[in-house]
Symmetry: C2
Subunit: 434 residues, 2 copies
């Protein structure tokens, strides 16, 4: 963990280094991925069979090898412990409600010139969702990706997930049942993303692919961007906690560790105006760490990437927060509202002492898929809009064309596009009786 003090002479430089620190694992996987995509595009299911045998030690032969069916998901749901089932249902219901309120409206109006204008939002026909196997196979992640797609009105939602040596995660299946996933394919890696984008004999192509994955999956999505729509490229997770000295240090320590336990390259940053409080939080992190089953990961993250910044006044915090543009920002201060306004760049903000970030990961309602690595400067969390697209429309009658047509003719001629001009003037001329 690094301690910075904003009044120190070297602070500006040290903070700039912190802002520039990417933490992304820079695997050069682009050539491998290019080859995998090309093979899936040309060889289809045969390439999937080969890669799945090689990487997941899983043979795709029968339909049951290829797919997990709806009955299996339903059975996993009913086999769940009641408390857990209720928790998943609560999460799903709250996420559904929040995203339903995001649905954009159709516009359709006539303006002063008599021109009818508007836009229609519609869902894509089909979406694909990557669900990692292994450690990162989280049912909450399935809900956060699948529910916005379903709320958007997507007709077909196909999940791909690797099942190494056949192992499936029953929690993920139960979540798929709750979310109404339509297909689950037992494939993973770049080859699974390629199958969703290009389609194969077995798997129909989709229009949008979302969901977390390793470096191969992320690179496959990047390369297929344009063939399909994708969600934002995701890097390691991060939290910025802005806290005054009146907080319980144990609460803040727990919040910092909740981020750290995700990944050795996750980052937890505390900004406080109270040096003694900072010491107590640092101590408590040590105490809490000792009890954690995820200690190894959390300790490494805190040691390598944890930061405590002491500021003379919390008035300095917003500028620092905007430079960091963190995925998660907690405002554990007496008067959080001004910070909500002045912190312009953040994926999601957790307001007050009683709103730990983990609530947002599971049950608050807003999406937990958020921009990382300073991308909150320009990117947003996942929403129904990622599964929809907009068609604009224009309608002119004779009068409207007479009103605005001549300007179009003038501009088309100035741009050296005579057929553009002609398509308007030929109609204007008729009106004039020429």
């Amino acid at each position: 963990m690094k301690r910075l003090v904003s009044s120190d002479p070297g602070f500006a430089k040290a903070f700039a280094r912190l802002v520039a620190d990417r933490r992304d694992v820079d695997d050069d996987v682009s050539r491998d991925v290019r080859r995998i995509l090309e093979r899936v595009r040309t060889e289809g299911d045969d390439a999937l069979i080969d890669y799945t045998k090689r990487f997941d030690h899983w043979d795709l032969v029968s339909d049951g090898d290829w797919r997990i069916d709806a009955q299996a998901c339903e059975a996993a749901y009913h086999a769940l412990d009641g408390t857990l089932r209720d928790a998943l249902e609560t999460a799903a219901e709250r996420v559904r409600a929040y995203h339903a309120a995001q649905l954009p409206e159709r516009r359709d109006y006539r303006d002063d010139a008599g021109v009818r204008l508007g836009a229609i939002w519609r869902p894509v026909d089909a979406a694909g969702l990557y669900v990692p196997g292994g450690r990162a196979a989280y049912p909450s992640s399935l809900l956060m990706n699948a529910i916005p797609a379903k709320v958007a009105g997507v007709g077909r939602l196909a999940v791909v997930t690797p099942t190494p040596r056949g192992v499936v995660n029953p929690l993920v299946l139960a979540a798929a049942h709750i979310a109404g996933v339509d297909e689950i394919w037992r494939i993973g890696g770049a080859q699974a993303v390629a199958a969703l984008a290009y389609g194969t004999d077995r798997i129909a192509p989709v229009d949008v692919v979302t969901g977390p994955g390793n470096a191969w999956v992320a690179e496959a999505k990047r390369q297929l961007y344009g063939t399909v729509g994708i969600d934002m490229v995701a890097g390691p997770s991060e939290i910025l906690v802005i806290a005054d000295g009146l907080n319980d240090p144990g609460f803040i320590a727990a919040d910092l560790l909740s981020q750290a336990e995700h990944d050795p390259v996750a980052q937890s940053i505390l900004i406080t105006d109270n040096a003694e409080f900072a010491d107590r939080v640092a101590d408590r992190v040590g105490v809490e760490l000792a009890q954690l089953s995820t200690r190894k990961v959390a300790e490494q993250s805190w040691k390598d990437h944890g930061v405590i910044i002491e500021v003379a006044s919390l008035d300095e915090a917003s500028a620092l927060a905007n430079a960091l543009a963190a995925e998660h920002v907690e405002l554990a201060v007496a008067d959080p509202e001004p910070f909500l306004e002045s912190i312009r760049h953040a994926g999601s903000v957790f307001i007050g002492r009683n709103s730990p970030e983990a609530i947002g990961d599971y049950v608050a309602g807003p999406n937990h898929v958020l921009p990382t690595g300073r991308r909150a400067r320009f990117a947003s969390g996942l929403s129904v809009l990622d599964f929809m697209k907009r068609t604009s429309f224009i309608e002119l009658d004779d009068d409207a064309l007479a009103a605005i047509g001549p300007a179009a003719v003038a501009l088309a001629e100035a741009e050296g596009l005579p057929a553009h001009a002609r398509s308007v003037s030929i109609r204007l001329d008729r009106r004039k009786g020429n």
Copy 2:
């Protein structure tokens, strides 16, 4: 030009080929672009000086070599012919009005569980806009990119545009004046996109890069996606005209050619239920072509990529249109409204006999930057949203945490994330007085 008849036995196959036809020029420029980006990232302005000398035969020495200042833009504006100036102002005003109505609203509410939830949309701090030199240097394109950024509230809008051998386009400067562009840099190509994304000593980095360009520019944007936000990858333009036999064949021929004159790989498609009308349109295309100064490009596009599809009934048209997912769709039919509903995949729809696509290119108001190459299945036209991002927020008081906290604890424990669970339970425990 190709003629297809939907009742022919070979139609399904021929139409599938048409849908699959990419028309993209497949330059393998990714390695070149990677090298250019890396040089700009490490060498900054020196790399820009070198590339600009080499590719644009332009020496970047003095400030005036690097930038076109606001005075020059204002002078270009005042030097414009009055009709043209008014036309540009009309276009700008109408585009501004349409996009202002797109601005999304802040959400802030408390739900049944007492949880405060919401989302705040904010503009990015800075946007960069690529404006091509040469043939495709269109003032309308500058307006269509710059105005949504300014309407979104972007504080700093930087244009990059190559000025080969020093040549600038006064129409583009005048448009920049109208749109309120803040900076114009005389650089182009992949190196200009890299300068915007990474920043150099002279050029501050931006958060989003939009605007059309050649294969190098498009690939640079693709590779920098994630470092900055970008607009959708764009391919060659296309129009689909759905027309009954009651149209003036000259009007429809003009509309088809307005698309064809953009690019030899642009595509114009007519769907009609009247074979005789189809013949007359084809004839009129020949007549109109003879008069066009853009004949060479338009003729090649029509010859190589033009298509007329005869259907037995226009009831067939929507399914074909959805498969094509065209950038522009004209509905030159007696009752266009049902088509507006049933054609789900289109960038922009032009309703009725009196709404030629060129009106949308210039003065209608909706954006003319639209998804091409079947990307209307999942992508939308440029809008204020491309220059904004959303921050969600969450606030819980004691009661709200008591209501939904236990579900978060259950899920975190099930996912094997004890620090997540702890950050919630430590607060719940205090409430219980433990």
